[in-house]
């Protein structure tokens, strides 16, 4: 029904998809899995007409096609159910379902056929097994119901290929079961379902076909026959096998060797800590010189927990700094106590992309550059400091007064780190230290973090990249649904199946595979 051949997508400095060929058939649930950054989202964007491929072909019903715009994809019956929902809150459920395809009556085609649309919407929702009033306001829908409305919207346009991008990430257990039942129902109707999920259990239980992407390349396929998901050699495969296919990358010299560390008392300790409404009961302590990783799926509450430490969110529980109970009111307050948090969202929160590299570099520590109680900034000292960090971290930056958005992701990230190091913190919390950073700069970021730790910094590294956590950290804790569910010490991080163990923990399974293959 829908097929891609030798699909390649290049972004500046990165090949997001590398010659990927896949086909999506009617009556099948086709799961696409891979680590973050493996190219899944890029693939989905090409399929739904949001992203144009650099090269490669797209076939629809056997004919070569191009989707230049999302609506062209929809006209060909390919619809995407987005991860973040796109309902217009001010409109009713029925109005949302027919948004942009309003049905009219009368000869002029002006008068909306409101009753007709309501009836049709109710019919579609009934077919989906959802008990949603088509007259209700979209604002009042739960996330799960909103997702059903999104699906109804796709069906209203007669979509034959439905793409789901992590549909269950935001759903609870019961709602997830409801949604999966619906996917199976849509499959029975002969539609092609493309399904992205980090929850491998869902994949194993529901997919007819699984394609694994890694670093933009297609690396493995699984197929269900005789009711069992099997790998290419025909061996029955469960979550563990999928996880192994997703990672399966040797740890090269990407990661620095660490100095031997003596046991020291905790610099920072979380006790029964959590971000209100997002996480709870997290206990974790980090000693000087230690790098502790925090793993977890999107939505596990990792970022929120870290933000709560530095006062960006309301916190529950205690934070101890060298044994003293502290509570920071703001990042500024935290910095005064030597605790720095580097956001995962570099463009939106971590940096001011429209401002210059120098302004970004000195903003958190601006007080150090001012005289006369802040009335005057010494630009000369700012320049000197910015150049010093450029030297120290090997940043490529031609002009420090040009907007920092002109720099590559890696160089931006180094500035994002440098600006906090300037405040000489003793605790550094880095969220996704290498997101959107190319491989060469990644290694440098790792080297910097390792050097800081070896010099006595207590580091917390939050990451979705399991090889990174494994290669860099002394130990890794795993969060799931706001709770700490496991910890891997260095000894177990060195095991060949360490990443698989982390994925299992993050997906709600036990660390080791006591279930069947």
């Amino acid at each position: 029904m829908l097929e891609v051949r030798n699909l390649t997508v290049d972004f500046p400095g990165v090949r997001a998809l590398d010659s990927v060929s896949l086909s999506f058939r009617p009556g099948e649930i086709h799961a696409v899995i891979g680590e973050n950054g493996a190219g899944k989202s890029t693939l989905m964007k090409v399929l739904s007409g949001v992203q144009q491929p650099t090269s490669g072909l797209l076939f629809c019903d056997g004919r070569p096609t191009r989707f230049r715009q999302p609506h062209e994809a929809i006209e060909h019956g390919v619809a995407m159910v987005h991860q973040e929902l796109h309902l217009v809150e001010a409109l009713s459920v029925a109005e949302n379902i027919f948004l942009g395809r309003e049905v009219t009556r009368g000869r002029l085609g002006i008068r909306l056929d409101a009753a007709g649309m309501r009836a049709r919407a109710a019919q579609l929702l009934g077919m989906l097994g959802a008990e949603i009033d088509s007259r209700a306001s979209a604002r009042d829908l739960s996330i799960a119901d909103a997702q059903f409305v999104e699906i109804a919207k796709c069906l209203a346009s007669d979509a034959r290929v439905l793409i789901f991008d992590e549909p269950t990430a935001v759903l609870g257990e019961r709602e997830t079961a409801r949604l999966l039942a619906l996917l199976r129902k849509l499959r029975e109707e002969g539609r092609a379902i493309v399904f992205i999920s980090h929850h491998l259990e869902e994949v194993v239980d529901n997919a007819n076909r699984v394609s694994v992407l890694r670093d933009g390349k297609f690396v493995a396929a699984f197929e269900r026959y005789d009711g069992i998901l099997r790998c290419a050699e025909g061996k029955p495969s469960r979550e563990s096998a999928l996880a192994q296919a997703m990672v399966g990358r040797p740890l090269g010299d990407l990661y620095p060797t660490r100095a031997a560390r003596e046991d020291r008392a905790a610099r920072i300790a979380l006790e029964d800590f959590g971000a209100m409404g997002r996480s709870a009961g997290v206990s974790l302590s980090v000693a000087p010189g230690e790098i502790v990783g925090v793993a977890g799926l999107v939505g596990s509450g990792r970022t929120e927990t870290m933000e709560a430490i530095v006062g960006l969110r309301r916190a529950a529980g205690r934070v101890r700094l060298d044994g003293e109970v502290v509570r920071f009111a703001s990042p500024r307050d935290a910095m005064r106590h030597g605790v720095a948090y580097i956001s995962e969202d570099r463009k939106g929160r971590g940096l001011h992309v429209s401002l210059s590299a120098m302004i970004n570099c000195t903003l958190p520590t601006l007080d150090r550059f001012t005289t006369a109680k802040g009335a005057s900034i010494s630009t000369a000292r700012e320049r000197a400091t910015t150049h010093r960090w450029i030297q120290e971290l090997g940043i490529r930056c031609a002009r420090i007064d040009a907007p920092i958005s002109a720099l590559s992701g890696g160089n931006q990230q180094k500035f994002a780190i440098a600006r906090w190091l300037e405040g000489t913190p003793t605790v550094l919390i880095v969220d996704e230290p290498t997101r959107g950073v190319d491989v060469g700069a990644k290694a440098e970021v790792y080297r910097v973090l390792a050097q800081l730790a070896d010099a006595g910094m207590a580091c917390i590294v939050v990451s979705s990249e399991l090889p990174e956590l494994r290669g860099l950290c002394d130990r890794v804790v795993v969060l799931r649904q706001g709770r700490l569910v496991g910890e891997l010490p260095r000894s177990r991080l060195l095991l060949p199946d360490a990443e698989e163990r982390l994925i299992r923990l993050a997906s709600g399974l036990s660390e080791t595979k006591d279930d069947t293959w």
Binding site: G13, P331, R332, R349, I359, G394, N411
Partner: protein, 348 residues
Amino acid sequence: MVSTASTVTNSAKLSSGPSRVARLFERWGVLVAFVLLFAASTALQGGEFASIENFRNMLNQNASIGILAVGMTLVIISGGIDLSVGSMLVLAAAFGLTLTNELIAREWSEGTAVGVGIAASVISGVLAGSINGVLIVFGRLAPFIATLGGLVAFRSVALAMADAGEIRSASSSVFAVLGRGGFPFFGFVNSAGNPITITYATVLFLAIAILAQWFLSRSRYGRQLVAVGANEVAARYAGVSVASVRLRTYLIMGAMAGIAGLLQSSRMNSVSTSQLGLGIELDAIAAVVIGGTSLRGGFGRVWGTVVGVLILGMIANMITISGISPYWSGAVKGAVIVLAVLVQRSRS
């Protein structure tokens, strides 16, 4: 070890985008426009416009709008807007003058009464500004809404104070000096042989503008103001106290409205509560926009605003002198505002 790929991207990005000429024009275009307009104006009036006296008059007439526009520049850089400046202005002027009159009636010395009244004007401006600031920062109201409330409410208080009429100054000589007097200007004399003075109002306007530009580009407050306007969330994550920065900005705006109100009431030696400062917020915003400050916040320049004030003043002046119906001035101003933004908007 940074990969060459990323370096290539950088240089490509730097060289692409608008050409050097376009970027220069984007930056200095408002000055070019000013010079052209000045030349046109001079030619139109047979050289008369370029006279020092004419220019001095224009500066003097626009000093209070200019002071408001300087404050407005800071507000707009912070990502906000203040629609209530005209109403704050009349409230501050009415309050100050009423107090002065009251004190004179109680037989205080005229000088002391005027001094207290001046202080009261500025303080009431700051208080009005603090109401805006608190509503915006702690009440989390959109600046447009909060100051729309102020626009309506503050003038209403002034109207109530004088039954919508005029408050005449009881100070026969002292108060009016502020708005009418000035420093002698290098011994220049006008055609009638009287010395040309540069008014206190003009000096105050220019001093405030220079100070504001310096604070904007050189002080911690200015830097944090730009950071808050460019991306409030990122500023918070970087440890900037966003609430304090925004609050201070509306306080400064209130103080500027108080000072502008003083200058206007002093020039008339009275306050017309229904007329003073009516619609002046739009002139102030227009001057800021013509000066190249981004309405989205995060970028701006006080010197541009000063040029913007002069451009608007010159247009009004040209229309008056050339005998065109003054009703047309709005059409010309409107065209200039739109044109200025069209030319200066970033081409990225």
